[in-house]
C-alpha cells in the first residue's frame, strides 16, 4: 500500500515536519479498509453461542422514591433466564464517587432522572427481554423534580441527595442542597481593576446541555463463567476503565475481569464511563450464559452523557487601548444527577486565552434531575469561551480594534501565569491568532450581507498512564500493541511514530489495540492524550528495541555495541568494516543471536502541552426566518507536531462541526413532567453534512518540548471556539447580540423582532 496524496493544510508547518521520514505523512490508515468495507467489528456485532439479550427497564419519572419492585411476573415470562434489580448489586456507600457510579448503573432507593436504570432482564430473544422488562412492576413515590440551574439552586428547591453538602464554602453548610461545590480562583483586586478600566462590560449567558452524539450506541457482551470470571467485549474509550469501574460497581476483584476492546463508533468523551457492563455481568452470572446489551438511541439520549448546560455572568474591564485588565465571572454548571467537576473546569478555562491583572472567578456545580454529565471534548470550556469571547468581541467593537489584534495584544505566552496557578509552558496561542489573521479567509473581503466572527479557545490536554509493547516479527515487520482504543486514527499515529523510530515502512507495522491481559495498564483515551502519552510509550519501547537491535548486530559482527549505529532501519558499522544489517536480517537471524526481539514501555506521561484554537466564520442570517447559514469556516489549531496531518485535520474539523451544532440547534427539550421529548436524531439536531461548508484547516506547529516528536493533543480544543464564533458572526451580520444558546431559527428571529421594535 502506498501513501496517499491529500491537500495539504495551510498551516505554519502543516504537511510533514521537516527532517522526518514518516512523521507528518498521510498513509492510509491500517484500520481503514475494514471500516469502509463494513468488516470492522463493533461490540454489537459479536454473537456467542447460547447468548442472551439483556433489556434494561428505565424510570419514566425524573425524581421518585422506589417503594417496591415486583419481578415475579417478568420471571415467569417466556424465554426469561435472569432478572436483576438494584437489590442484586452490592450496597452502595452513603456518598462519594463510588456511590455515584454504582447508582448511575442501577438506581437504588431513588430514581434521579427519567431514563434511570431500575431493573434488567436477560432472555433468549430481544423481544422476550423487552416484554419481560416491561412486565416488571415498580411502585414509585413521586418527588418534585428540578431540571434547570436556577430552579435547582433556589432555596426551596427539592433536594436530590440528603447527604450532599456544598464543598468550598465556610463554614460547611449544615443543610444539604443541590449545590455540590463552589470553586474560586482569584488574583489581584477586581474592584480596583474595574475602577481603573475605561470600559466595563457585564453580560449574562446561558448554554444548553448537549449530547456527544456518537453514532454507535453503547453496547457490550459479557460472558461470566462458573469460576466467577468475566470476559467483557465493550465499546469504550478505555477498556481498563471498563474493567476497574465494573469491578467497583460489582465489588469484584479486577483480576476476575478481562475486557476486550471492540471497535468504537464514536465517543467524544461519552464513552469514558460505563453504564451497562455490570448489569450484563450480573445477568450473565445469574443465567450462566453470555449476555448482550445494546442501548437504543432513545436510551442513549435519556440515560447517558450530556455535557452540561451553564449560566455564566461575565464582567470584563479594559482600557481604551484595548488592554483587558480585569475579569469577574460567575459560573454555574449542570452536573446532572450526581456531582461532578464541571464548574471547576469552567472556572479554570474561562479567561485562559487572556492575560489579566485582576480576576475573580467563582463557580458552582449544581445537581439536578437529568442524567449525570460525562466528558465531551474539552469539558466545560465551550460555555466558558462563549461568555468570555462574546464580551471580548464587544470590547473590540467599543475600542474600535480588529478583534484578532485585540486578542493578540492580550494573549499569554510562556512564563505568564495561568488563571489557575502554574505558569504557561510553551504554547501556541499567538501563533494560532496570527495564522487566522493572515489566513486567506480572514484577508478576504466579507461578502455583502454576511457577518464575520472570530474567537479563541483553550484546553489543558492530559498525560496519564500508557503502555505499549512492540514485537519484531521474524520477517522484519513489527507489531505495536497499545492499550488505547483508537477513536480518531491513533493506530496510524502509533505506527508512524514507530516507523520513524525503527526506520521501517509504516505499512510493515501492524498497530493493535490489546485487551486488558495482553498489554500494560493504559488510561482512557481522553484528554487528547493517546497520540501524546501512548505515543511516548511506543517511542520508548522502540528506542529500547533499537538498543537491542544494535546489540544483536554487535554480536553478529563480534564488535563493541558502541560501534553500531541504527540508521534508516539498518544497523550500520561505524568503522565501516561490515555491510549494514537490515532490521529484517537481524530478526531473521534472531534465534541465533539471543531469541525474539520485543520491548515494552509503561509510563506516566508528564508535560502534556496545552492546546489552543482560533477560528473564524462567515455567516448569513435570513432576517425573516432567523435561519443561520455558515458560509465559510476556518480553524487554526496548535498540534505541536502533526503526526498524521489528515487525522489532525479530521479532529479539528470534527470539533468545529460539533461546536457549530451546539451553537445553532442542539438542545434537550423536556416536558413539564421531566421527560425528554427529543431522544433521537430527528429532533435532536446535530448538523448534517449539507449544513456545512468544508471546514478549512490550518495546522499550527509549536512543538511540545515534553514529547519526543513535539506532540500536543488535538482531539478536543476544536469544539471550544465555535460557540462564540457563531454568536459573534451573527452579531456582525445582524447588529443583534444573542447570549442564550442555541441560536436556532426561532431564537434568532425572536431576537431580531425584539430589536426591531
Amino acid at each position: 500500500m502506498s501513501t496517499t496524496e491529500a491537500p495539504p493544510s495551510t498551516g505554519t508547518n502543516g504537511n510533514g515536519t521537516s527532517g522526518y521520514r514518516w512523521v507528518g505523512t498521510r498513509p492510509v490508515r491500517h484500520d481503514g479498509l475494514d471500516k469502509v468495507a463494513g468488516k470492522a467489528r463493533y461490540a454489537a456485532d459479536l454473537n456467542l453461542p447460547g447468548m442472551l439479550y439483556g433489556h434494561i427497564l428505565r424510570s419514566p419519572h425524573p425524581h421518585a422514591r422506589i417503594v417496591s419492585i415486583d419481578t415475579s411476573a417478568a420471571e415467569a415470562m417466556p424465554g426469561v433466564k435472569a432478572v436483576v434489580t438494584g437489590a442484586d448489586f452490592p450496597e452502595a456507600p452513603p456518598k462519594g464517587a463510588t456511590r455515584n457510579l454504582m447508582c448511575t448503573v442501577i438506581a437504588r432507593d431513588k430514581v434521579l432522572y427519567s431514563g434511570h436504570a431500575v431493573a434488567a432482564v436477560a432472555a433468549s430473544t430481544r423481544r422476550e427481554a423487552k416484554a419481560a422488562a416491561e412486565a416488571i412492576e415498580v411502585t414509585y413515590e413521586l418527588l418534585p423534580h428540578v431540571l434547570n440551574i436556577s430552579d435547582a439552586m433556589a432555596d426551596d428547591a427539592p433536594v436530590l441527595h440528603d447527604k450532599l453538602f456544598t464543598r468550598g464554602v465556610e463554614p460547611r453548610p449544615t443543610e444539604p442542597s443541590n449545590i455540590a461545590a463552589r470553586t474560586v480562583y482569584e488574583r489581584g483586586d477586581v474592584e480596583q481593576g474595574f475602577a481603573e478600566a475605561d470600559i466595563v462590560i457585564e453580560r449574562e449567558f446561558s448554554t444548553q446541555a448537549v449530547h456527544q452524539g456518537y453514532i454507535e450506541p453503547h453496547a457490550c457482551v459479557v460472558d461470566c463463567d462458573q469460576e466467577g470470571k468475566a470476559v467483557i467485549w465493550a465499546s469504550s474509550q478505555g477498556h481498563f476503565k471498563v474493567r476497574s469501574a465494573t469491578a467497583e460497581v460489582l465489588g469484584w476483584d479486577t483480576s476476575r475481569i478481562k475486557v476486550i476492546p471492540a471497535e468504537i463508533g464514536g465517543g467524544f468523551g461519552g464513552k469514558t464511563t460505563i453504564y451497562i457492563e455490570p448489569v450484563a455481568a450480573l445477568l450473565s452470572t445469574k443465567a450462566g450464559r453470555p449476555v448482550k446489551i445494546v442501548m437504543s438511541r432513545e436510551d442513549v439520549f435519556r440515560a447517558t452523557g450530556p455535557a452540561p448546560g451553564a449560566i455564566i455572568k461575565m464582567k470584563v474591564g479594559a482600557r481604551n487601548d484595548g488592554t483587558i485588565t480585569t475579569a469577574k465571572a460567575w459560573l454555574a454548571y449542570e452536573n446532572g444527577a450526581f456531582q461532578g467537576m464541571a464548574a471547576m473546569l469552567g472556572c479554570m478555562c474561562v479567561v485562559s486565552a487572556y492575560t489579566l491583572d485582576h480576576l475573580y472567578v467563582e463557580g458552582f456545580d449544581v445537581v439536578l434531575n437529568r442524567p449525570v454529565n460525562v466528558a465531551y471534548r474539552a469539558p466545560s470550556a465551550p460555555a466558558a469561551a462563549f461568555a468570555m469571547d462574546s464580551v471580548v468581541d464587544e470590547i473590540a467593537e467599543r475600542v474600535g480594534m480588529d478583534p484578532l489584534d485585540l486578542r493578540i495584544q492580550n494573549c499569554p505566552s510562556q512564563g505568564d501565569p495561568t488563571p489557575y496557578g502554574p505558569k504557561w509552558p510553551m504554547i501556541g496561542l499567538r501563533e494560532c491568532l496570527e495564522a487566522i489573521r493572515d489566513s486567506d479567509h480572514y484577508q478576504s473581503e466579507l461578502p455583502e450581507g454576511q457577518g464575520r466572527g472570530v474567537a479563541s479557545g483553550f484546553w489543558f490536554n492530559i498525560g496519564e498512564a500508557s503502555s505499549a509493547t512492540v514485537n519484531l516479527n521474524e520477517n522484519g515487520t513489527a507489531t505495536v500493541i497499545t492499550g488505547s482504543p483508537d477513536i480518531g486514527g491513533s493506530r496510524a499515529s502509533m505506527a508512524l511514530m514507530a516507523a520513524e523510530e525503527l526506520g521501517l515502512d509504516v505499512h510493515l507495522i501492524q498497530p493493535v489495540v490489546g485487551d486488558t491481559e495482553v498489554v500494560g495498564f493504559t488510561d482512557v483515551t481522553e484528554g487528547s492524550r493517546a497520540t501524546f502519552a501512548t505515543g511516548m510509550a511506543v517511542v520508548e519501547a522502540c528506542r529500547d528495541l533499537k538498543e537491542q537491535l544494535r546489540k544483536r548486530a554487535a554480536k553478529t559482527w563480534d564488535c563493541d555495541m558502541e560501534e553500531v549505529e541504527w540508521v534508516d532501519g539498518s544497523a550500520v558499522h561505524g568503522p565501516g568494516e561490515q555491510e549494514p544489517l537490515t532490521l529484517a536480517a537481524i530478526t531473521g537471524n534472531a534465534k541465533r543471536t539471543g531469541g525474539p526481539l520485543g520491548a515494552t514501555a509503561s509510563l506516566n506521561a508528564r508535560g502534556a502541552g496545552p492546546a489552543f484554537s482560533v477560528q473564524v466564520a462567515d455567516v448569513s442570517v435570513d432576517q425573516e426566518t432567523g435561519r443561520v447559514t455558515v458560509e465559510r469556516y476556518t480553524t487554526a489549531q496548535d498540534a505541536g507536531t502533526a503526526i498524521h496531518p489528515s487525522y489532525v485535520e479530521g479532529q479539528m474539523q470534527g470539533g468545529v462541526v460539533q461546536g457549530i451544532g451546539w451553537a445553532l440547534n442542539e438542545e434537550y427539550i423536556y416536558s413539564d413532567d421531566g421527560n425528554l421529548e427529543n431522544p433521537g436524531f430527528l429532533d435532536y439536531r446535530i448538523p448534517v453534512a449539507s449544513d456545512l461548508p468544508m471546514i478549512e484547516t490550518c495546522i499550527v506547529e509549536v512543538p511540545n518540548p515534553s514529547h519526543p516528536y513535539g506532540v500536543r493533543g488535538v482531539g478536543e480544543v476544536g469544539i471550544v471556539p465555535p460557540l462564540p464564533v457563531m454568536a459573534n458572526a451573527i452579531a456582525d451580520a445582524t447588529g443583534v447580540r444573542i447570549s442564550d444558546l442555541p441560536l436556532s431559527p426561532p431564537r434568532v428571529l425572536a431576537a431580531l423582532t425584539a430589536a426591531d421594535s
Binding site: E298, E624, T625, G626, R627, L664, N665, I669, E677, N678, F681, L682, D683, R685, P687, V688, S690, D691, S744, P745, P746, L749, A750, T753
Partner: protein
C-alpha cells in the same frame, strides 16, 4: 407479524378487509420507524409496491396519474412531470434523503396524516384528486379531504389509495413549495407553504391557490391569501396581504419543533416567497416560449 405482497388491488383489499390489525405500506418509511418507536406491531403488513397501477407514473391525455406507492425518486427523475409540477416535485424531493426517497411515496406521505407532510400542501394547491379503492369500487376524493386530523384519515380500514390524478396545469400556471427546517435535510417541516398561480398575459394573477403545512392539525388552504393575490400584479402590497392572511390562517401548536409565534411569522414569509417563485417560473417559461 406476517408479510404479504399482493399483485392486484383486489387481493390487497381482501387481505386488508380480512384482518382488522393489518396495515398496508409503500415505502414503510413511516411504518417501520413508528413500530420501532413503540407503536403496536401490526398483525400483517401488506406491501403495495408489487401492484403495477400503484407504482406507475403516466400521462393520460391531459391528466397525470401518479401511483400512490411510487417512490419520490420516480417523480424527481421524471422531467416531464417536474416541468408541469415543479413545486410538487420539489416537495417530493425534500422528503428525507436520497435513500428515503427511493422508498417514500405520496400515498404514504398523505395517509400517514402528519400535519407536516411535505407533499400534501403541494398536492392540495394543484387540486390533486385521490383515487381510492374500496369494497364498492373506486371513489375520487380531493386530497384536501383525505386527512381529517393528525394521524387520522377519511379512509375506511379496507380502503387503499390507488393513485393521484393531477390535471396538467393551464397555460401561465406554475407552483412552488417551500418549507422551513433548521437544518438543510433530514428534518421535519416547522412550516410548509405551497402556492400555485396563474398569470394572464399582462402578468395579473388570474388564479391562486395557497396551502400551508405544519401550522394546524391538517393542511390548511388559505382563501384569504388567494383572494389577496388574485387580480394583483404581485406587487408588494398584495404579497404582504397574502403573507398576513397566511399568518392569520395558522392554528399552530407550541411544540419541540417550533413556537406558535414563530410558525405564524414564518408561514407568511414562506407564502410570499413561494408566490414569488411560482410567478418567476411562469415568467421564465413564458419568456422561453416567446423566444422559441
Amino acid at each position: 407479524m406476517r408479510y404479504a405482497a399482493p399483485t392486484t388491488i383486489d387481493e390487497a383489499r381482501d387481505l386488508l378487509a380480512a384482518d382488522g390489525d393489518a396495515v398496508v405500506f409503500a415505502g414503510a418509511t413511516d411504518v417501520v420507524p413508528q413500530v420501532r418507536a413503540g407503536r403496536p406491531e401490526p398483525s400483517m403488513v401488506i406491501d403495495l409496491k408489487k401492484i403495477d397501477r400503484l407504482m406507475s407514473v403516466s400521462l393520460d391525455g391531459d391528466t397525470w396519474q401518479v401511483g400512490a406507492a411510487a417512490p419520490s425518486s420516480a417523480l424527481t427523475a421524471n422531467a416531464a412531470f417536474a416541468a408541469d409540477f415543479p413545486g410538487l416535485t420539489e416537495a417530493a424531493g425534500l422528503i428525507g434523503s436520497d435513500q428515503i426517497q427511493n422508498r417514500s411515496s405520496l400515498g404514504g406521505n398523505l395517509c400517514n396524516a402528519s400535519p407536516a407532510a411535505d407533499s400534501v400542501p403541494a398536492l392540495v394547491v394543484n387540486d390533486a384528486v385521490a383515487v381510492i379503492a374500496g369494497a364498492d369500487g373506486e371513489r375520487r376524493v380531493p386530497v384536501a379531504d383525505v386527512v381529517t386530523g393528525p394521524g387520522q384519515t377519511s379512509l375506511a380500514h379496507d380502503e387503499i389509495v390507488v393513485c393521484f390524478e393531477l390535471a396538467r396545469p393551464a397555460a401561465g400556471t406554475s407552483d412552488a413549495y417551500l418549507r422551513l427546517i433548521p437544518r438543510t435535510e433530514m428534518d421535519i417541516a416547522v412550516v410548509g407553504a405551497g402556492v400555485r398561480l396563474t398569470l394572464d398575459g399582462d402578468g395579473t394573477v388570474s388564479a391562486a391557490s395557497v396551502a400551508l403545512g405544519a401550522v394546524a392539525p391538517t393542511v390548511v388552504r388559505v382563501p384569504a391569501a388567494e383572494a389577496a393575490l388574485v387580480g394583483s400584479s404581485l406587487d408588494d402590497d398584495a404579497l404582504a396581504a397574502a403573507a398576513a392572511a397566511a399568518s392569520d390562517a395558522c392554528n399552530p401548536i407550541d411544540d419541540k419543533r417550533g413556537t406558535i409565534n414563530y410558525r405564524r411569522q414564518v408561514a407568511g414569509v414562506l407564502t410570499r416567497r413561494a408566490a414569488g417563485i411560482a410567478a418567476d417560473r411562469i415568467r421564465t417559461r413564458n419568456g422561453q416560449n416567446g423566444a422559441s
